[in-house]
Amino acid sequence: MQDMHLDDVVPGCVSQTLTYYDGTERQVLVSDREVPFPEGKLIVSRTDPQGILTHGNQSFVEMSGFSEAELIGQPHQILRHPDMPKAAFKDLWDTLARGEKWTGYVKNLRKDGAYYWVLATVVANVRDGQVVGYTSVRRKPSRQRIDECIEQYRQMIAQESA
């Protein structure tokens, strides 16, 4: 995945290195600007079994800051924010592997370095007994729960770094 570019982001971004589960790294530029979740809408995307984006609705595209063409074919983790602990995504994949749906609060990174919080639910798309992909639906999260997650995720990242 390509590193983020200064040309794309809002002023005042800080550079950080994201390390993914497979050891690959990405330089990301992170701002403290939050974009509010759009009222009444759902953010919907689908991936193939490997987590590569295949579809995204208009809200998904708009909130990400990317164009649809820039998103489709990319790994879903293009939206990964460095404030999210690795353990949250491990829990997601472990839960899906058990054939269950996963729900959690996620801080997503936009192309411009800003972020947005979502309450995400991910289900496997099972057709004729086979997992052919995953659907992720995000809705507006509770501010109280976000505040709880900020602290919880901070502690989890500290443990992961120790």
Partner: protein, 248 residues
Amino acid sequence: MKPYTLTVSPDFMPDYIAGWYIFNTWLQKQLGEAIHVELYNDFASQREAILRDEIDLIYANPFDAAMLVREKGFTAIAAPLNKPDEVVLAVPKQSAVQSIDELAAGLRISRTDDPDVNLIGMMMIESANLTSSNTDVQLVDNYVLVAKALFQEKADVGFFLKEAYHNLSDFVKGQLRVLLTSEIHVVTHVLLAGPRFKDHHDRLQDLLVTMTELEKGAGVLQSMGLDGWKQQTQEDTEFMIDLMDTLQ
């Protein structure tokens, strides 16, 4: 041979009851098959009929599509054009509440038994930390009674199918205020056909997607309050079922 049975999700607008009978007459003529219309007063009695395998064609609420497709082997045929199921959350006109975030525990909700509206409605108030466990849900028979509960101040918020809200009289709407309207776009009623109707699936789909061009087709659609039909693939419906699953 026993006639096939067509039923319609009980949340259809009462103004269009006659339209569904007209549609059935048109459909029987086009297919050359005997089809009987059976309407149910509520979702529970319709589901019982489905479980008894008494239904062959259904204009289904998206909430029931999962059971019909995945447990009863129904096949997606068509979805209405320009008719997504969106939800209006309304409050009494004089309510002090201006946004979802201002709603608080103990909220009195008036709603019908319409399952997809209730699912989406509850999802929309979830961001205010509201669930069925800290709200007072009042179930009523129809959307006019939801409105009545609001302007009589027996409820703080009402869940409406958007179409039903906008079909309320101007007098009633004048006493209410829209707090939020969903913009989900992809949740829609869908016409499904059961296994006993299998031999007619392709012909039925062809008829519906070209209905506006067929003799009397446009008039029949108008009587049902529909613009037309678009083809609904099985994958379209499976996707909608997956989406509904994430909201439960």
